[in-house]
């Protein structure tokens, strides 16, 4: 078939890129080869727009065993234990088909983690929907939540934390990011780099169908007159098969059969085979007639580009084929030797021994295009909100409005659809600042959480980028964990637009600064560009997934008040920064102004001191102050317990709204027994930490002196209505 300009365009390749392909090949590609280039050179696989910026992220550290570049990041948590984790987006498929899109997103990220030898122990998700009043939001929410639950519950891995946000910026492009965390033995980690000549390349898992063949689906009319609907662009997930695949892989990983292993994710067989061979500086030869197919008459093109789920590619040590085959047969999975490693440095594709395509591997990998795209800096707005012009609002009414809003309502409706307890190591479930998962049969535990802040990132990408890392760090600290490393999922609009590229570049600078300062390296991640429609891009939404370590889990720390008449202190200074706050957004619909500043020095000191206080057992409850400010955080600490607060009115701030709803960063609330107070004070004073004694806990009522008093059961009710009424 002649490669026409139209065909090139339908494969998402630019004319210049096509010229480069011809140069690299020293000839015209055939259709199969064009498809392979299109799959490897697209943004998703090649990171062509982002690579230049990602390079600057701090990825090394004493605890880092493997940074970005593998299927997932690996950190050392002491003894012989390693934690393997990563986050990934599945935004577009989830908008088209929310249940299957979200489900296969979970499936994909799980494979990334167990490919490396880890047994997954926790799932997290960050989901962003359009405005609740948008006509699609409700069904998207329903579908995404049941899809995430459907997959995780079935495979039997607890979904323990996440975040859920609504904002009209996602009306036409929701975000569904899924994170998986696994545990492995340090000396049993598996990588994707191939080694050795003439080794068996084995296909295992589900059969290949015509799912999600991309580029091809649009161009299908060109090479297949049989209508569009033959080629579904959305994959259907099969968590049951994934469970079998996971158990089979983990069983095979017990001995030394595997040289390298790679899941077939985006661009399926193409990217997995190319990555393994190119990392190993080898060649690879595949016999496509051997590929297990679900449908009749599948072409090599379709096989190479199919994104059917629940498949893996393995390179085996010599003579291990029979042993491996037995394991996969036991689990009722396909197992076929489909090729060998070679010394040609080429990807060679044969069908019935006839060469159908042959491409030098460096053309697909190291010589893939990299762009230094134009980007512009975002100016920090000088606009301040003029309070005198705003209509008066009572503190109590504002609090109630925030607590009953979509974004700040209790997420119980969501989290009760996820099995959070399966595996019996979930020491702290959803609802806390971070979830806590015990390492099976050990005393230690990890804490995990995900965070994002699109409003801050939109207002000022650099500050926003810094802030999300800090918030994540704070959430881990709040449950008594020492933050170790993060993964990140960078959801942005169209990178060809210099403004959007600027948001990306600056968010990354912010992330880098925080990570460096806090010694909180990035070990894995994912970039998702082109979120939005042509004219309307989403607000920049980098999502941070963090992991922390609790050395000895004797009891869990959370944010719920435990006792009557204990002292409440706020660590960190309250200036009353209201621009970009939830208060202004929810009460006045004001979205203007600068986000709160981040002071990394204070951030670090405050956090480290809070951690010390927790470790010394001097505190009953800890909560970081995030969106909604002090008052919302206090309400969150009260709701669902028997204890409210009695807060003194602030003395030195003129505006109590600023005091109670301001979103100054780096702050924590601590509930401390009276008899421990002196010890806590001493630690804080010794280390020059700013803190304020703001009041005490009391039974049943949430009270600000001379300002408001409300039954905490009432607050709880208010906070639990939104989802059930939606």
């Amino acid at each position: 078939m002649k490669i026409t300009n139209q065909l090139i365009e339908k494969h998402g390749l630019k004319p210049e890129e096509y010229s480069t392909i011809k140069k690299l090949l020293k000839r015209e590609p055939n259709l199969l080869e064009l498809g392979i280039f299109s799959a490897m050179w697209n943004e998703h696989c090649s990171y062509k727009s982002s690579r230049k910026h990602l390079k600057n992220l701090p990825t090394k550290g004493k605890k880092v065993i493997q940074g970005p570049g593998e299927n997932a990041g690996v950190i050392d948590i002491g003894d012989d234990d390693a934690i393997i984790f990563k986050i990934e987006s599945h935004n577009h498929p989830s908008y088209i088909e929310p249940y299957q899109g979200a489900a296969t997103g979970v499936g994909g990220i799980l494979r990334d983690v167990f490919t490396m030898g880890a047994r997954p122990i926790a799932l997290l998700n960050s989901i962003h929907f359009g405005s609740p009043s948008h006509f699609k939001t409700k069904s998207l929410l329903n579908g995404v939540v049941s899809g995430i639950g459907g997959y995780g519950n079935c495979i039997g891995i607890p979904t323990v934390a996440g975040e859920t946000k609504f904002n009209s910026t996602y009306n036409e492009n929701i975000l569904v990011n899924a994170m998986a965390v696994g545990h492995a033995k340090k000396d049993k980690i598996f990588y994707s780099k191939a080694k050795g000549l003439n080794k068996s390349v084995v296909y295992v898992g589900s059969k290949t169908g015509r799912d999600g063949i991309h580029g091809a689906s649009m161009a299908s009319a060109e090479f297949d007159e049989n209508s569009e609907d033959k080629k579904p662009t959305v994959q259907v997930g099969d968590p049951f098969t994934e469970k079998l695949l996971m158990e089979a892989c983990l069983e095979l990983m017990k001995d030394k059969s595997i040289i390298s292993i790679q899941d077939m994710g985006a661009a399926g067989l193409t990217s997995s085979s190319v990555e393994m061979a190119s990392k190993g500086e080898l060649g690879i030869e595949l016999h496509l007639d051997k590929v297990p197919c679900r449908e009749e008459n599948m072409t090599p093109y379709e096989m190479m580009l199919s994104e059917s789920q629940e498949r893996m590619l393995i390179i085996l040590e010599d003579g291990k084929e029979k042993h491996a085959n037995e394991i996969f047969k036991k689990w009722d999975l396909d197992f076929v030797v489909i090729g060998r490693t070679t010394n040609t440095n080429k990807l060679t594709l044969k069908y019935n021994n006839k060469i159908e395509g042959e491409i030098p591997l460096d053309a697909l990998a190291s010589k893939a295009p990299i762009y230094d795209r134009k980007w512009v800096k975002k100016k920090l707005t000088k606009n301040k909100v003029d309070f005198k012009k705003l209509k008066k609002v009572k503190i109590e009414d504002a609090l109630i409005k925030i607590l009953s809003s979509a974004n700040h309502s209790d997420k119980n409706w969501i989290t009760s659809q996820y099995d959070q307890m399966v595996m019996c190591d979930t020491a702290q479930k959803s609802g806390a600042d971070a979830a806590i998962i015990r390492i099976h049969n050990k005393e230690k535990a990890i804490a995990v959480t995900v965070d994002s802040s699109s409003n801050y990132c939109k207002a000022h990408p650099l500050t926003g980028g810094k802030q999300i890392v800090c918030e994540n760090w704070r959430n881990l600290i709040s449950v008594g964990a020492k933050p170790i490393a993060i993964t990140n999922c960078l959801n942005f609009g169209n990178p060809e637009n210099p403004k959007i590229m600027g948001e990306f570049a600056e968010c990354l600078i912010g992330i880098k600064e925080s990570c460096e300062f806090l010694n909180f390296p990035v070990v894995s991640g994912n970039v998702s560009f082109y979120n939005g429609t042509n004219k309307k891009n989403i607000s920049p939404t980098p999502v941070i997934g963090g992991v922390g370590l609790i050395q000895k889990l004797k009891k869990t720390m959370d944010h719920k008040f435990k006792k009557d008449d204990s002292i409440i202190i706020v660590i960190g200074k309250t200036f009353g920064h209201l621009e970009q706050s939830v208060f202004l957004e929810e009460i006045y619909s004001i979205l203007d102004g600068q986000p709160p500043e981040i002071n990394l020095i204070n951030e670090k000191n405050n956090g480290e001191n809070v951690l010390e206080i927790i470790n010394k057992n001097l505190v009953n409850a800890v909560h970081d102050i995030s969106t909604g400010g002090l008052l919302v955080a206090l309400a969150e600490m009260s709701m669902g317990t028997n204890y409210g607060v009695k807060i003194n009115k602030p003395k030195n701030l003129t505006n109590s709204l600023k005091y109670f709803f301001g979103e100054d960063q780096g702050r924590y609330i601590l509930e401390i027994d009276k008899e421990n107070f002196e010890k806590v004070e001493k630690i804080l004073k010794n280390n020059n930490i700013f803190y304020e004694n703001i009041g005490s806990t009391q039974k049943d009522y949430f009270e600000i002196d001379k300002e408001m008093r409300i039954d905490i059961k009432e607050l709880y009710k208010i906070n639990n209505q939104w989802y059930n009424n939606y």
């Binding site: 088209i96 169908g209 799912d211 994959q235 997930g237 099969d238 098969t241």
Partner: protein
């Protein structure tokens, strides 16, 4: 008498059956497992089995044309997901 007739007409119950099936080429994990099970249970000659949904819908409508249109609407709006599923409506 005329009134009676009208009433009857109004009360006319119309019944439709709807089948919703996955599009060809879409993975049917359930069907696959059911097929394997039937085969291990000794059901030879079984070539393929695909699973879908079935609905029996009753409408209080006098006109079978408009009723059928309504059922088609239901399918598009809720019962079937046209991205991955096809549906078929028949009168029963």
């Amino acid at each position: 008498m005329a009134k009676q007739l009208r009433l009857n007409l109004k009360k006319n119950k119309l019944k439709f059956s709807v089948t919703v099936t996955l599009k060809k080429d879409v993975l049917d994990p359930q069907g696959k497992v059911v097929q394997n099970t039937l085969q291990t249970l000794g059901m030879d000659n079984l070539k393929s089995i695909r699973q879908g949904k079935y609905f029996e819908i009753e409408l209080d409508d006098s006109d079978s044309k408009t009723a059928e249109k309504k059922v088609n609407d239901m399918c598009k709006k809720l019962l079937a997901n046209l991205i991955i599923e096809d549906y078929k409506v028949s009168k029963i």
